[in-house]
Protein backbone atom coordinates (compact mmCIF):
# COMPACT_ATOMS: atom_id res chain seq x y z
CA UNK A 1 0.00 0.00 0.00
CA UNK A 2 2.93 2.31 0.68
CA UNK A 3 4.19 1.49 -2.80
CA UNK A 4 0.79 2.46 -4.22
CA UNK A 5 0.70 5.72 -2.25
CA UNK A 6 4.18 6.75 -3.34
CA UNK A 7 3.97 5.85 -7.00
CA UNK A 8 0.32 6.69 -7.65
CA UNK A 9 1.01 10.02 -5.98
CA UNK A 10 4.01 10.67 -8.19
CA UNK A 11 2.55 9.37 -11.46
CA UNK A 12 0.14 12.23 -11.97
CA UNK A 13 1.30 14.29 -8.97
CA UNK A 14 2.49 17.30 -10.96
CA UNK A 15 -0.77 17.36 -12.88
CA UNK A 16 -2.94 16.89 -9.77
CA UNK A 17 -1.03 19.72 -8.09
CA UNK A 18 -1.65 22.05 -11.05
CA UNK A 19 -5.31 21.04 -11.11
CA UNK A 20 -5.69 21.54 -7.35
CA UNK A 21 -4.04 24.96 -7.38
CA UNK A 22 -6.00 26.28 -10.37
CA UNK A 23 -9.17 24.89 -8.81
CA UNK A 24 -8.35 26.71 -5.58
CA UNK A 25 -8.03 30.00 -7.46
CA UNK A 26 -11.31 29.23 -9.22
CA UNK A 27 -13.16 29.47 -5.90
CA UNK A 28 -13.02 33.21 -6.57
CA UNK A 29 -13.78 32.97 -10.28
CA UNK A 30 -16.39 35.73 -10.26
CA UNK A 31 -14.35 38.07 -8.09
CA UNK A 32 -11.25 37.39 -10.19
CA UNK A 33 -13.20 38.35 -13.32
CA UNK A 34 -14.15 41.67 -11.74
CA UNK A 35 -10.56 42.29 -10.64
CA UNK A 36 -9.30 41.58 -14.15
CA UNK A 37 -11.81 43.98 -15.70
CA UNK A 38 -11.21 47.12 -13.66
CA UNK A 39 -13.06 49.26 -16.23
CA UNK A 40 -16.42 47.96 -15.06
CA UNK A 41 -17.53 50.15 -12.18
CA UNK A 42 -21.29 50.46 -12.76
CA UNK A 43 -23.88 48.15 -11.24
CA UNK A 44 -27.28 47.29 -12.68
CA UNK A 45 -30.20 45.09 -11.71
CA UNK A 46 -30.17 41.60 -13.22
CA UNK A 47 -33.24 42.08 -15.45
CA UNK A 48 -31.92 45.34 -16.88
CA UNK A 49 -28.40 43.95 -17.37
CA UNK A 50 -29.60 40.79 -19.12
CA UNK A 51 -32.04 42.74 -21.33
CA UNK A 52 -29.27 45.16 -22.33
CA UNK A 53 -26.93 42.26 -23.10
CA UNK A 54 -29.57 40.55 -25.27
CA UNK A 55 -30.08 43.81 -27.20
CA UNK A 56 -26.36 43.92 -27.87
CA UNK A 57 -26.16 40.25 -28.94
CA UNK A 58 -29.03 40.75 -31.39
CA UNK A 59 -26.79 43.24 -33.21
CA UNK A 60 -23.40 41.61 -32.62
CA UNK A 61 -24.17 37.90 -33.05
CA UNK A 62 -27.46 37.42 -34.92
CA UNK A 63 -26.08 34.37 -36.75
CA UNK A 64 -25.03 32.46 -33.63
CA UNK A 65 -27.25 29.38 -33.08
CA UNK A 66 -27.49 30.22 -29.40
CA UNK A 67 -26.44 32.78 -26.81
CA UNK A 68 -25.46 31.98 -23.24
CA UNK A 69 -25.33 34.58 -20.50
CA UNK A 70 -24.29 34.60 -16.86
CA UNK A 71 -26.25 37.34 -15.13
CA UNK A 72 -24.30 39.73 -12.91
CA UNK A 73 -24.54 39.00 -9.20
CA UNK A 74 -23.00 39.95 -5.88
CA UNK A 75 -19.71 38.23 -6.85
CA UNK A 76 -19.42 39.35 -10.46
CA UNK A 77 -20.63 42.66 -11.83
CA UNK A 78 -20.22 41.94 -15.57
CA UNK A 79 -22.70 40.04 -17.70
CA UNK A 80 -20.64 37.23 -19.22
CA UNK A 81 -21.85 36.30 -22.69
CA UNK A 82 -20.77 33.45 -24.92
CA UNK A 83 -21.78 33.02 -28.53
CA UNK A 84 -20.54 31.41 -31.72
CA UNK A 85 -18.41 33.70 -33.85
CA UNK A 86 -16.46 33.22 -37.06
CA UNK A 87 -12.75 32.64 -36.60
CA UNK A 88 -9.99 34.18 -38.68
CA UNK A 89 -9.29 30.84 -40.37
CA UNK A 90 -12.88 30.45 -41.54
CA UNK A 91 -14.02 28.08 -38.77
CA UNK A 92 -16.39 29.05 -35.98
CA UNK A 93 -16.03 28.79 -32.25
CA UNK A 94 -17.55 30.13 -29.05
CA UNK A 95 -16.28 33.44 -27.86
CA UNK A 96 -16.50 34.69 -24.30
CA UNK A 97 -17.22 38.39 -23.85
CA UNK A 98 -17.78 40.47 -20.72
CA UNK A 99 -20.54 43.04 -21.16
CA UNK A 100 -21.05 46.17 -19.13
CA UNK A 101 -24.05 45.63 -16.83
CA UNK A 102 -25.48 49.08 -17.65
CA UNK A 103 -24.88 49.46 -21.38
CA UNK A 104 -24.80 45.76 -22.27
CA UNK A 105 -21.81 46.47 -24.51
CA UNK A 106 -18.15 45.29 -24.37
CA UNK A 107 -16.72 48.72 -25.37
CA UNK A 108 -13.80 49.90 -23.29
CA UNK A 109 -13.56 46.67 -21.28
CA UNK A 110 -10.18 44.98 -21.68
CA UNK A 111 -10.35 41.62 -23.41
CA UNK A 112 -9.54 38.91 -20.88
CA UNK A 113 -10.73 35.45 -19.97
CA UNK A 114 -10.74 36.53 -16.33
CA UNK A 115 -11.49 33.72 -13.89
CA UNK A 116 -12.63 31.57 -16.79
CA UNK A 117 -9.06 30.65 -17.80
CA UNK A 118 -8.06 28.99 -14.52
CA UNK A 119 -11.53 27.41 -14.31
CA UNK A 120 -11.11 25.83 -17.77
CA UNK A 121 -7.49 24.89 -17.11
CA UNK A 122 -8.63 23.13 -13.93
CA UNK A 123 -10.44 20.41 -15.91
CA UNK A 124 -9.39 20.84 -19.55
CA UNK A 125 -5.66 21.53 -19.03
CA UNK A 126 -5.58 23.60 -22.23
CA UNK A 127 -5.78 20.37 -24.25
CA UNK A 128 -8.26 19.67 -27.06
CA UNK A 129 -11.54 17.98 -26.19
CA UNK A 130 -11.85 15.30 -24.86
CA UNK A 131 -8.19 14.69 -23.92
CA UNK A 132 -7.91 17.35 -21.25
CA UNK A 133 -11.05 16.19 -19.50
CA UNK A 134 -10.00 12.53 -19.71
CA UNK A 135 -6.60 13.35 -18.25
CA UNK A 136 -8.17 15.47 -15.50
CA UNK A 137 -10.53 12.57 -14.69
CA UNK A 138 -7.63 10.16 -14.48
CA UNK A 139 -5.79 12.63 -12.25
CA UNK A 140 -8.87 12.93 -10.01
CA UNK A 141 -9.16 9.16 -9.70
CA UNK A 142 -5.44 8.94 -8.98
CA UNK A 143 -5.84 11.56 -6.24
CA UNK A 144 -8.73 9.63 -4.71
CA UNK A 145 -6.74 6.37 -4.68
CA UNK A 146 -3.65 8.16 -3.35
CA UNK A 147 -5.69 9.73 -0.54
CA UNK A 148 -7.23 6.42 0.52
CA UNK A 149 -3.90 4.57 0.36
CA UNK A 150 -2.33 7.51 2.20
CA UNK A 151 -4.72 7.07 5.11
CA UNK A 152 -3.68 3.42 5.24
CA UNK A 153 0.05 4.09 4.76
CA UNK A 154 0.47 6.95 7.19
CA UNK A 155 -1.07 4.89 9.96
CA UNK A 156 -0.06 7.42 12.58
CA UNK A 157 -1.82 10.40 11.00
CA UNK A 158 -4.59 10.37 13.57
CA UNK A 159 -2.27 9.67 16.49
CA UNK A 160 -0.02 12.49 15.21
CA UNK A 161 -3.00 14.72 14.44
CA UNK A 162 -1.57 17.87 16.02
CA UNK A 163 2.10 17.10 15.56
CA UNK A 164 4.34 19.48 13.66
CA UNK A 165 8.09 19.41 14.28
CA UNK A 166 9.69 22.30 12.39
CA UNK A 167 13.37 22.57 11.53
CA UNK A 168 13.95 18.83 11.22
CA UNK A 169 14.26 18.44 7.47
CA UNK A 170 12.45 15.44 6.09
CA UNK A 171 10.70 14.83 9.42
CA UNK A 172 9.15 18.31 9.12
CA UNK A 173 8.03 17.75 5.53
CA UNK A 174 6.37 14.51 6.62
CA UNK A 175 4.64 16.23 9.55
CA UNK A 176 3.43 19.02 7.28
CA UNK A 177 2.24 16.47 4.71
CA UNK A 178 0.29 14.60 7.38
CA UNK A 179 -1.18 17.64 9.13
CA UNK A 180 -2.25 19.34 5.88
CA UNK A 181 -3.72 16.08 4.66
CA UNK A 182 -5.57 15.34 7.87
CA UNK A 183 -7.04 18.69 8.92
CA UNK A 184 -8.92 19.00 5.64
CA UNK A 185 -9.30 15.27 4.99
CA UNK A 186 -13.10 15.40 4.45
CA UNK A 187 -12.57 18.17 1.90
CA UNK A 188 -9.78 16.29 0.09
CA UNK A 189 -11.82 13.09 -0.26
CA UNK A 190 -14.95 15.00 -1.22
CA UNK A 191 -13.27 17.19 -3.82
CA UNK A 192 -11.47 14.24 -5.47
CA UNK A 193 -14.61 12.08 -5.67
CA UNK A 194 -16.94 14.87 -6.81
CA UNK A 195 -14.33 16.05 -9.30
CA UNK A 196 -14.31 12.62 -10.93
CA UNK A 197 -18.13 12.57 -10.81
CA UNK A 198 -18.37 15.97 -12.52
CA UNK A 199 -16.85 14.50 -15.71
CA UNK A 200 -18.57 11.15 -15.54
CA UNK A 201 -20.86 11.67 -18.53
CA UNK A 202 -17.70 11.55 -20.63
CA UNK A 203 -15.71 8.91 -18.76
CA UNK A 204 -18.36 6.32 -17.80
CA UNK A 205 -21.14 6.37 -20.41
CA UNK A 206 -21.96 2.68 -19.93
CA UNK A 207 -24.95 3.16 -17.64
CA UNK A 208 -26.48 5.46 -20.25
CA UNK A 209 -25.98 2.92 -23.01
CA UNK A 210 -27.51 0.26 -20.74
CA UNK A 211 -30.82 2.13 -20.69
CA UNK A 212 -30.83 4.21 -23.85
CA UNK A 213 -28.73 2.19 -26.29
CA UNK A 214 -27.82 4.52 -29.11
CA UNK A 215 -30.68 6.95 -28.51
CA UNK A 216 -28.54 9.72 -27.03
CA UNK A 217 -31.10 12.40 -27.97
CA UNK A 218 -33.69 10.81 -25.67
CA UNK A 219 -31.05 10.43 -22.95
CA UNK A 220 -30.10 14.12 -23.10
CA UNK A 221 -33.76 15.19 -23.10
CA UNK A 222 -34.59 13.01 -20.08
CA UNK A 223 -31.41 13.74 -18.14
CA UNK A 224 -32.10 17.49 -18.23
CA UNK A 225 -35.79 18.10 -18.97
CA UNK A 226 -35.36 21.77 -18.13
CA UNK A 227 -33.13 22.36 -21.16
CA UNK A 228 -35.89 22.83 -23.73
CA UNK A 229 -34.40 23.17 -27.23
CA UNK A 230 -36.95 23.15 -30.09
CA UNK A 231 -35.92 22.87 -33.74
CA UNK A 232 -35.52 26.12 -35.67
CA UNK A 233 -38.21 26.96 -38.23
CA UNK A 234 -36.12 29.16 -40.50
CA UNK A 235 -38.71 31.94 -40.29
CA UNK A 236 -37.66 35.13 -38.51
CA UNK A 237 -39.72 36.64 -35.71
CA UNK A 238 -39.03 39.64 -33.47
CA UNK A 239 -38.78 38.96 -29.74
CA UNK A 240 -41.59 39.86 -27.35
CA UNK A 241 -40.89 41.86 -24.17
CA UNK A 242 -37.79 40.19 -22.69
CA UNK A 243 -38.00 42.11 -19.42
CA UNK A 244 -41.46 40.72 -18.77
CA UNK A 245 -40.26 37.16 -19.31
CA UNK A 246 -37.26 37.70 -17.01
CA UNK A 247 -39.47 39.21 -14.30
CA UNK A 248 -41.92 36.33 -14.62
CA UNK A 249 -39.04 33.88 -14.21
CA UNK A 250 -37.75 35.64 -11.09
CA UNK A 251 -41.25 35.57 -9.60
CA UNK A 252 -41.19 31.76 -9.90
CA UNK A 253 -37.76 31.43 -8.28
CA UNK A 254 -38.92 31.39 -4.68
CA UNK A 255 -36.83 34.37 -3.63
CA UNK A 256 -33.87 33.30 -5.77
CA UNK A 257 -32.07 35.36 -8.38
CA UNK A 258 -31.18 34.79 -12.04
CA UNK A 259 -28.17 32.56 -12.65
CA UNK A 260 -27.86 31.82 -16.36
CA UNK A 261 -29.89 32.87 -19.36
CA UNK A 262 -29.85 31.15 -22.74
CA UNK A 263 -31.49 31.99 -26.04
CA UNK A 264 -31.79 29.08 -28.45
CA UNK A 265 -32.10 30.01 -32.17
CA UNK A 266 -32.20 33.76 -31.56
CA UNK A 267 -34.32 35.65 -34.10
CA UNK A 268 -36.11 32.51 -35.23
CA UNK A 269 -39.88 32.08 -34.83
CA UNK A 270 -39.21 29.03 -32.63
CA UNK A 271 -36.64 30.80 -30.44
CA UNK A 272 -36.85 30.12 -26.69
CA UNK A 273 -35.52 32.06 -23.71
CA UNK A 274 -34.33 29.82 -20.88
CA UNK A 275 -33.89 31.46 -17.50
CA UNK A 276 -32.14 29.36 -14.85
CA UNK A 277 -32.30 30.25 -11.19
CA UNK A 278 -28.98 30.98 -9.50
CA UNK A 279 -27.74 28.02 -7.43
CA UNK A 280 -25.75 30.35 -5.20
CA UNK A 281 -27.99 29.81 -2.16
CA UNK A 282 -28.10 26.00 -2.14
CA UNK A 283 -25.74 23.05 -2.07
CA UNK A 284 -27.00 21.47 -5.29
CA UNK A 285 -25.54 22.48 -8.63
CA UNK A 286 -28.15 23.85 -11.03
CA UNK A 287 -31.64 25.00 -10.16
CA UNK A 288 -35.10 25.58 -11.59
CA UNK A 289 -35.32 26.63 -15.24
CA UNK A 290 -38.16 28.68 -16.69
CA UNK A 291 -38.49 28.66 -20.48
CA UNK A 292 -40.39 31.13 -22.67
CA UNK A 293 -41.30 31.28 -26.34
CA UNK A 294 -39.27 34.29 -27.46
CA UNK A 295 -41.77 35.43 -30.09
CA UNK A 296 -44.84 35.44 -27.83
CA UNK A 297 -43.43 35.67 -24.31
CA UNK A 298 -45.55 32.66 -23.34
CA UNK A 299 -44.22 30.26 -20.64
CA UNK A 300 -43.25 27.00 -22.35
CA UNK A 301 -41.97 25.02 -19.38
CA UNK A 302 -40.90 25.35 -15.78
CA UNK A 303 -38.68 22.59 -14.45
CA UNK A 304 -37.23 22.08 -10.99
CA UNK A 305 -35.29 18.87 -10.33
CA UNK A 306 -36.97 16.56 -7.80
CA UNK A 307 -35.82 13.08 -8.86
CA UNK A 308 -33.86 11.63 -5.91
CA UNK A 309 -30.90 10.13 -7.78
CA UNK A 310 -30.43 13.19 -10.00
CA UNK A 311 -30.78 15.43 -6.91
CA UNK A 312 -28.07 13.42 -5.18
CA UNK A 313 -25.80 13.84 -8.18
CA UNK A 314 -26.54 17.58 -8.32
CA UNK A 315 -25.66 17.93 -4.63
CA UNK A 316 -22.39 16.04 -5.11
CA UNK A 317 -21.59 18.22 -8.11
CA UNK A 318 -22.60 21.34 -6.17
CA UNK A 319 -20.26 20.33 -3.34
CA UNK A 320 -17.43 20.36 -5.84
CA UNK A 321 -18.38 23.76 -7.24
CA UNK A 322 -18.79 25.28 -3.75
CA UNK A 323 -20.87 28.18 -5.00
CA UNK A 324 -23.25 28.37 -2.04
CA UNK A 325 -23.50 31.77 -0.51
CA UNK A 326 -22.00 32.22 2.95
CA UNK A 327 -18.78 34.08 2.17
CA UNK A 328 -17.03 32.08 4.89
CA UNK A 329 -17.68 28.91 2.87
CA UNK A 330 -15.77 30.36 -0.08
CA UNK A 331 -12.80 31.12 2.15
CA UNK A 332 -12.94 27.68 3.73
CA UNK A 333 -12.94 26.15 0.23
CA UNK A 334 -10.01 28.37 -0.69
CA UNK A 335 -8.01 27.42 2.42
CA UNK A 336 -8.86 23.74 2.06
CA UNK A 337 -7.81 23.92 -1.60
CA UNK A 338 -4.50 25.45 -0.57
CA UNK A 339 -4.12 22.69 2.02
CA UNK A 340 -4.74 20.05 -0.66
CA UNK A 341 -2.26 21.66 -3.05
CA UNK A 342 0.29 21.82 -0.25
CA UNK A 343 -0.36 18.19 0.73
CA UNK A 344 0.39 17.15 -2.84
CA UNK A 345 3.44 19.41 -3.02
CA UNK A 346 4.90 18.15 0.26
CA UNK A 347 4.15 14.59 -0.83
CA UNK A 348 6.09 15.13 -4.05
CA UNK A 349 8.98 16.69 -2.16
CA UNK A 350 9.00 13.77 0.29
CA UNK A 351 9.12 11.33 -2.60
CA UNK A 352 12.31 12.93 -3.85
CA UNK A 353 13.84 13.27 -0.38
CA UNK A 354 13.26 9.59 0.35
CA UNK A 355 15.22 8.42 -2.65
CA UNK A 356 18.84 8.29 -3.67
CA UNK A 357 19.76 11.71 -5.07
CA UNK A 358 22.69 10.16 -6.95
CA UNK A 359 20.41 8.49 -9.49
CA UNK A 360 19.75 10.55 -12.63
CA UNK A 361 16.05 9.69 -12.75
CA UNK A 362 15.50 10.75 -9.13
CA UNK A 363 17.45 13.94 -9.64
CA UNK A 364 15.37 14.79 -12.69
CA UNK A 365 12.11 14.10 -10.82
CA UNK A 366 13.14 16.23 -7.88
CA UNK A 367 14.10 19.18 -10.11
CA UNK A 368 10.91 19.05 -12.14
CA UNK A 369 8.97 18.85 -8.87
CA UNK A 370 10.66 22.06 -7.73
CA UNK A 371 9.83 23.71 -11.06
CA UNK A 372 6.15 22.77 -11.00
CA UNK A 373 5.49 23.34 -7.29
CA UNK A 374 7.01 26.84 -7.30
CA UNK A 375 6.23 27.54 -10.97
CA UNK A 376 2.46 27.16 -10.78
CA UNK A 377 1.82 29.96 -8.23
CA UNK A 378 4.40 32.04 -10.09
CA UNK A 379 2.58 31.48 -13.39
CA UNK A 380 -0.78 32.44 -11.86
CA UNK A 381 0.81 35.65 -10.58
CA UNK A 382 2.27 36.25 -14.05
CA UNK A 383 -1.21 35.81 -15.55
CA UNK A 384 -2.49 38.57 -13.24
CA UNK A 385 0.55 40.77 -13.98
CA UNK A 386 -0.09 40.34 -17.69
CA UNK A 387 -3.62 41.56 -17.15
CA UNK A 388 -2.27 44.78 -15.67
CA UNK A 389 0.74 45.29 -17.96
CA UNK A 390 -0.65 44.53 -21.42
CA UNK A 391 -2.31 47.50 -23.07
CA UNK A 392 -6.10 47.33 -22.59
CA UNK A 393 -6.57 47.86 -26.33
CA UNK A 394 -3.98 45.32 -27.52
CA UNK A 395 -5.38 42.93 -30.12
CA UNK A 396 -5.47 39.33 -28.90
CA UNK A 397 -4.60 40.33 -25.35
CA UNK A 398 -6.77 37.62 -23.77
CA UNK A 399 -4.66 35.00 -25.57
CA UNK A 400 -1.48 36.87 -24.67
CA UNK A 401 -2.34 36.66 -20.96
CA UNK A 402 -2.76 32.91 -21.26
CA UNK A 403 0.49 32.58 -23.27
CA UNK A 404 2.36 34.40 -20.54
CA UNK A 405 1.02 31.97 -17.96
CA UNK A 406 2.43 29.01 -19.89
CA UNK A 407 5.68 30.77 -20.79
CA UNK A 408 6.41 31.54 -17.14
CA UNK A 409 5.51 27.99 -16.09
CA UNK A 410 7.81 26.56 -18.77
CA UNK A 411 10.61 28.96 -17.82
CA UNK A 412 10.29 28.01 -14.15
CA UNK A 413 10.53 24.30 -14.96
CA UNK A 414 13.54 24.84 -17.27
CA UNK A 415 15.28 26.93 -14.62
CA UNK A 416 14.60 24.29 -11.98
CA UNK A 417 15.96 21.52 -14.20
CA UNK A 418 19.20 23.47 -14.64
CA UNK A 419 19.68 24.18 -10.92
CA UNK A 420 20.47 22.05 -7.88
CA UNK A 421 17.03 21.52 -6.28
CA UNK A 422 17.75 23.44 -3.06
CA UNK A 423 18.99 26.54 -4.89
CA UNK A 424 16.32 26.32 -7.54
CA UNK A 425 13.63 26.01 -4.90
CA UNK A 426 14.87 28.95 -2.82
CA UNK A 427 15.19 31.32 -5.78
CA UNK A 428 11.94 30.33 -7.44
CA UNK A 429 10.03 30.72 -4.16
CA UNK A 430 11.62 34.13 -3.53
CA UNK A 431 10.69 35.19 -7.07
CA UNK A 432 7.19 33.82 -6.64
CA UNK A 433 6.71 35.61 -3.32
CA UNK A 434 8.10 38.88 -4.68
CA UNK A 435 5.85 38.68 -7.74
CA UNK A 436 2.76 38.36 -5.57
CA UNK A 437 3.99 41.01 -3.11
CA UNK A 438 4.50 43.59 -5.85
CA UNK A 439 1.25 42.90 -7.66
CA UNK A 440 -0.85 45.33 -5.58
CA UNK A 441 1.56 48.17 -6.38
CA UNK A 442 1.62 47.39 -10.11
CA UNK A 443 -2.14 47.10 -10.11
CA UNK A 444 -2.55 50.45 -8.36
CA UNK A 445 -0.29 52.16 -10.91
CA UNK A 446 -2.04 50.52 -13.86
CA UNK A 447 -5.64 50.99 -12.73
CA UNK A 448 -5.67 53.65 -10.01
CA UNK A 449 -7.60 51.25 -7.82
CA UNK A 450 -6.86 49.16 -4.74
CA UNK A 451 -4.95 49.34 -1.48
CA UNK A 452 -2.18 51.65 -2.73
CA UNK A 453 -4.61 53.97 -4.50
CA UNK A 454 -6.70 54.87 -1.47
CA UNK A 455 -9.15 52.06 -2.14
CA UNK A 456 -9.67 51.40 1.56
CA UNK A 457 -11.05 54.93 2.01
CA UNK A 458 -13.17 54.77 -1.13
CA UNK A 459 -14.80 51.50 -0.09
CA UNK A 460 -13.38 49.58 -3.08
CA UNK A 461 -13.77 46.34 -1.12
CA UNK A 462 -12.97 43.80 -3.82
CA UNK A 463 -9.74 45.49 -4.91
CA UNK A 464 -8.55 46.07 -1.35
CA UNK A 465 -9.34 42.49 -0.35
CA UNK A 466 -7.54 41.19 -3.44
CA UNK A 467 -4.47 43.31 -2.66
CA UNK A 468 -4.42 42.09 0.94
CA UNK A 469 -4.68 38.49 -0.23
CA UNK A 470 -1.83 39.01 -2.72
CA UNK A 471 0.34 40.48 0.04
CA UNK A 472 -0.38 37.51 2.32
CA UNK A 473 0.36 35.01 -0.47
CA UNK A 474 3.57 36.84 -1.34
CA UNK A 475 4.64 36.95 2.30
CA UNK A 476 3.94 33.23 2.63
CA UNK A 477 6.07 32.53 -0.45
CA UNK A 478 9.02 34.47 0.96
CA UNK A 479 8.58 32.84 4.37
CA UNK A 480 8.64 29.35 2.82
CA UNK A 481 11.77 30.26 0.87
CA UNK A 482 13.54 31.58 3.98
CA UNK A 483 12.52 28.72 6.28
CA UNK A 484 13.56 26.02 3.81
CA UNK A 485 16.81 27.80 2.87
CA UNK A 486 17.82 28.18 6.52
CA UNK A 487 17.60 24.49 7.25
CA UNK A 488 20.99 22.78 6.96
CA UNK A 489 20.62 19.16 6.00
CA UNK A 490 22.93 16.73 7.85
CA UNK A 491 26.19 16.73 5.90
CA UNK A 492 26.68 13.01 5.13
CA UNK A 493 23.37 12.08 3.54
CA UNK A 494 22.34 8.69 4.76
CA UNK A 495 20.10 6.61 2.58
CA UNK A 496 16.79 6.18 4.27
CA UNK A 497 13.95 3.75 3.80
CA UNK A 498 11.08 4.88 1.61
CA UNK A 499 8.38 6.83 3.45
Amino acid sequence: MAWLHGWAGLALGWLVYAIALSGTATVFKGELGDWMRPEIVGRAGQVEAVAAALDYLAKAAPASPDWYLSAPNARSSATIASYEAPRADGGRNYRLVALDPITGRPDGIRDTLGGEFLYRFHFELQLPYPWGRLLASAAGMMLLVTLISGIVTHRRIFADFFTLRPGKGKRSWLDAHNVLGVVAMPFHLMIALTGVLSLVALTLPWAASARYGDDMARYVAEAAPGLVAPAATGRAAPPADVRMMLRDAVSRFDGGTIGQVAVIHPGDAAAVLRVTRSDGDQLAYGAATSTYAMATGRLVSFYAEDRPAKRTYDILYGLHMGRFTPVLAHWLYFLSGLALSATIATGLILWTQSRDPARTGHRFVSRITVGIVAGMPLAIAAFLWANRLLSPTLAGRAEAEVSLFFLVLAAAVLYAVAMPPRRGWAWLMVLCGATWLMLPLASAIATGRGLFAGGALGGDRLFVAADLLFLVLGGAGIAIAVVTARHKPPAPRRRRAAA
Binding site: M1, W3, L4, M141, L144, V145, I148, S149, V152, L193, V196, L197, V200, L204, W206, A207, A208, S209, A210, R211, Y212, G213, Y219, E222, A223, R307, P308, A309, K310, T312, Y313, L316
Partner: protein, 92 residues
Protein backbone atom coordinates in the same frame (compact mmCIF):
# COMPACT_ATOMS: atom_id res chain seq x y z
CA UNK B 1 14.03 -5.13 -7.76
CA UNK B 2 13.57 -8.89 -8.07
CA UNK B 3 11.67 -10.23 -11.03
CA UNK B 4 8.88 -11.75 -8.91
CA UNK B 5 8.38 -8.42 -7.14
CA UNK B 6 8.24 -6.59 -10.46
CA UNK B 7 5.69 -9.03 -11.79
CA UNK B 8 3.61 -8.67 -8.62
CA UNK B 9 3.51 -4.89 -8.92
CA UNK B 10 2.82 -4.93 -12.66
CA UNK B 11 -0.06 -7.36 -12.24
CA UNK B 12 -1.58 -5.37 -9.40
CA UNK B 13 -1.18 -2.10 -11.31
CA UNK B 14 -2.89 -3.58 -14.35
CA UNK B 15 -5.79 -4.70 -12.15
CA UNK B 16 -5.98 -1.35 -10.36
CA UNK B 17 -6.20 0.61 -13.63
CA UNK B 18 -7.64 -1.37 -16.56
CA UNK B 19 -9.30 -3.93 -14.30
CA UNK B 20 -10.81 -1.33 -11.98
CA UNK B 21 -12.18 0.66 -14.90
CA UNK B 22 -13.66 -2.46 -16.47
CA UNK B 23 -15.33 -3.29 -13.16
CA UNK B 24 -16.68 0.26 -12.86
CA UNK B 25 -18.13 0.01 -16.38
CA UNK B 26 -19.70 -3.40 -15.68
CA UNK B 27 -21.16 -2.28 -12.35
CA UNK B 28 -22.56 0.89 -13.93
CA UNK B 29 -24.08 -1.12 -16.79
CA UNK B 30 -25.50 -3.90 -14.62
CA UNK B 31 -26.98 -1.60 -11.99
CA UNK B 32 -28.54 0.64 -14.63
CA UNK B 33 -30.15 -2.46 -16.20
CA UNK B 34 -31.47 -3.65 -12.84
CA UNK B 35 -32.63 -0.36 -11.35
CA UNK B 36 -36.43 -0.30 -11.16
CA UNK B 37 -36.92 3.47 -11.54
CA UNK B 38 -37.08 5.60 -14.67
CA UNK B 39 -34.34 5.36 -17.29
CA UNK B 40 -32.73 8.66 -16.32
CA UNK B 41 -32.65 7.76 -12.60
CA UNK B 42 -31.24 4.31 -13.34
CA UNK B 43 -28.42 5.86 -15.35
CA UNK B 44 -27.47 8.29 -12.59
CA UNK B 45 -27.59 5.58 -9.91
CA UNK B 46 -25.56 3.12 -11.97
CA UNK B 47 -22.99 5.75 -12.83
CA UNK B 48 -22.44 6.99 -9.26
CA UNK B 49 -22.06 3.45 -7.90
CA UNK B 50 -19.80 2.56 -10.85
CA UNK B 51 -17.52 5.48 -10.05
CA UNK B 52 -17.32 4.37 -6.42
CA UNK B 53 -16.39 0.85 -7.53
CA UNK B 54 -13.24 2.06 -9.24
CA UNK B 55 -11.22 3.38 -6.24
CA UNK B 56 -12.56 0.46 -4.20
CA UNK B 57 -11.19 -1.98 -6.76
CA UNK B 58 -7.87 -0.13 -7.01
CA UNK B 59 -7.37 -0.21 -3.26
CA UNK B 60 -8.40 -3.87 -3.17
CA UNK B 61 -5.83 -4.75 -5.82
CA UNK B 62 -3.04 -3.41 -3.62
CA UNK B 63 -4.53 -4.32 -0.25
CA UNK B 64 -5.09 -8.02 -0.98
CA UNK B 65 -2.51 -10.30 0.62
CA UNK B 66 -1.65 -12.19 -2.58
CA UNK B 67 -1.93 -11.50 -6.24
CA UNK B 68 -4.21 -14.50 -6.65
CA UNK B 69 -6.63 -13.12 -4.07
CA UNK B 70 -6.46 -9.65 -5.65
CA UNK B 71 -7.33 -10.81 -9.15
CA UNK B 72 -9.75 -13.42 -7.84
CA UNK B 73 -11.77 -10.80 -5.98
CA UNK B 74 -11.78 -8.51 -8.99
CA UNK B 75 -12.84 -11.32 -11.29
CA UNK B 76 -15.58 -12.41 -8.88
CA UNK B 77 -17.08 -8.89 -8.68
CA UNK B 78 -16.75 -8.46 -12.43
CA UNK B 79 -18.28 -11.90 -13.04
CA UNK B 80 -21.36 -11.13 -10.94
CA UNK B 81 -21.88 -7.86 -12.82
CA UNK B 82 -21.37 -9.62 -16.15
CA UNK B 83 -23.92 -12.32 -15.35
CA UNK B 84 -26.47 -9.66 -14.38
CA UNK B 85 -25.75 -7.74 -17.56
CA UNK B 86 -26.02 -10.86 -19.68
CA UNK B 87 -29.24 -11.98 -17.99
CA UNK B 88 -30.79 -8.54 -18.39
CA UNK B 89 -30.04 -8.52 -22.11
CA UNK B 90 -29.61 -5.54 -24.35
CA UNK B 91 -31.80 -2.44 -24.05
CA UNK B 92 -34.90 -2.60 -26.16
Amino acid sequence: MRLAKRFDIAARTLGATVGAYALAALVAYALARLWPGSDAEAVVTGTIVGVLAMPAAAIWMFGASSIRRAWGGLALAGGVATIITWAAGLPT
